[in-house]
Amino acid sequence: MTDATATLSNNNVRQVGGSLLVLDERTKKRNAAEARFRRMGQIAVMIGVLALIGLLASILSNGLSSFQQTYIAVDIHLDAAKLDKSGNRNPDEIAKVTTFGYMPLIQEAIKKKMAAEGISIDGLNAKAAAELISKEAPATLRNYVLSHIDAIGTTVPFKLLASGRIDGYYKGRVTMASAELDKNVSPEQLKLADELKQAGILTTAFNWDFFTAPDASDTRPEAAGLGVAILGSAYMMLIVLVLSLPIGVAASIYLEEFAPQNRLTDLIEVNIANLAAVPSIVFGILGLAVFINYAGLPQSAPIVGGLVLTLMTLPTIIIATRAALKAVPPSIRDAALGVGASKMQSIFHHVLPLAMPGILTGTIIGLAQALGETAPLLLIGMVAFVREYPAAPPEGFFDPASALPVQVYNWTQRGDPAFVERASGAIIVLLVFLVMMNLIAIILRRRFERRW
């Protein structure tokens, strides 16, 4: 055996006239190299897949619970004596009652509910029992009353948010043991929550508010939602699409089809490629300097975010569009020119439709990138705490808003552990949007793709 390999390895040349059934040394080496390369490739793919699975699993396990929310159903008597002392149902006077004025109503309602169900917990006073309900609830009540003045004096059933800790108790974040050490929640309150759950008063339901509600303060994670962020992101995407698609496509067509080949166009070409690689935060600084400090546009506004993201997206779109234009076979251009089409006609009638799938894919990938971009938005003030919904476009473009990735960043900075769940939930929403955009890209590509 050793003899044979020794003689073979000395003889590195293919043996002329050797048997086909015997593998010579060179063939063995080549086969081994191929097998090695395949294994390495498989390992690389495995690492990638595992990393992706790990990432998704961690995000989903942390974030899925944010789509469920704990609610407490109570019948609240909107006491006229407390809400409308003068009794003339004047909206201006009723508006003077602050959220503090609504707290006793909630306390009263909980007390009544407990009495009706025969629930009593030792060492738990009415105030502590009412703390099961989110601090957001008085504001909810107040908004309801202000828009339904007639309801004053009646008893209205409400489904109010449970506080973050109670919500966390049913999501495994809070336990009896941790409640002992927590000044925000007591074991007695958890016991009451369990009793209420048994009575069917405390329920868990799908959390629509997560998609529509604005952000909430540090102490009210249960009320925090993505409404303003989704709206802000949508506005920015609209601006990016409207600006970058025509500018990008026009620039690409000019550069690819009309521009003369000279030093200047070479320089422009190199710079576009370089711009695509410029760190996004640099665009943020540019946006801050140019759009806010120089042009005087408002901070935190989708218009500025949209403009900055447009600058960022343009190179991506231009590069993709030029590649798509280049991929159209020259025979099509020849054919069009051959029947007497002008250059412009040959491009717009024939080349552009064929390049469309590539252009759209590039645009959507550019948009997806822009949607997930955080750094430049931090610099132009989109990280601000915004509870007001921006108005409808076009005025809304100038109102303060947040953005999805910035909201994620924002929530990860908060102290309450409930925000970890919210941030992961926001990431899931962001990912769903990205997947949807990529799906649209695939569908458009399929639909517009034509053979030639």
């Binding site: 099509i332 020849d334 020119l337 051959g338 029947v339 089409a341």
Partner: protein, 275 residues
Amino acid sequence: MNDATMNNALMSNVKTTTKADVMTESKISAKNVQVFYGEKHAIKDVNIEIRPRSVTAFIGPSGCGKSTFLRCINRMNDTIDICRVEGDIAIDGENVYDPKVDPVQLRAKVGMVFQKPNPFPKTIYENVAYGPRIHGLARKKSEMDEIVATSLQKAGLWNEVKDRLDAPGTGLSGGQQQRLCIARAVAVSPEVILMDEPCSALDPIATAKVEELIHELRENYTIVIVTHSMQQAARVSQRTAMFHLGELVEEDDTDKMFTNPNDQRTQDYIMGRFG
């Protein structure tokens, strides 16, 4: 001169003619044409007269400049940045390289069929209708239908596709696609049709059909065809021009070229000694 008048008289019998045909003996006349690709001197001082309503074949080994010269006639070389053309190419006495000439108008007059069939990825109808549409040749849908039908008939494709005009042009066979391209060229009523190796991508049966078509088209159009096939040149053309290394070696009646050429290089090429 006598010859020419006879020729013209003959032709006016065949069909009604445009003014230019009766006036001049040659449809296309090239004088001292030089073409440069950057530094490369691709066409060297070519002089040639191409007769109306006949088929002229350009033959010669690969890279001899015959396609380059063909593309000069309708200024398709304009699309190549580094390409520079000197000298005159006149169609009906009008120099196509005159600064006043718009290549778009020129190409409506001088149609082109390419080596590889290149129908637009649109319907058969749209392929043919595109040229007339951009040139405004039809005012009504019925007129356009008429143009499409006659063009397809002229290209000998009508019977094969009349029931599926809205099928994609790219779905036809190679030979059909090439005839569709010919129909597309014919649809804008050109006077000259340039064909750049139109059969090189086709099988013998499709080739035979296209050649037959060229025969028929000769009655109405001046055809210039570049071909690598000696047999094809012999079959379809009346005049043959031999190119070699960017020069026009000689140009004569096809019969004479293939039986008794003047130049040794033509003799060698036709006999298959080089190229």
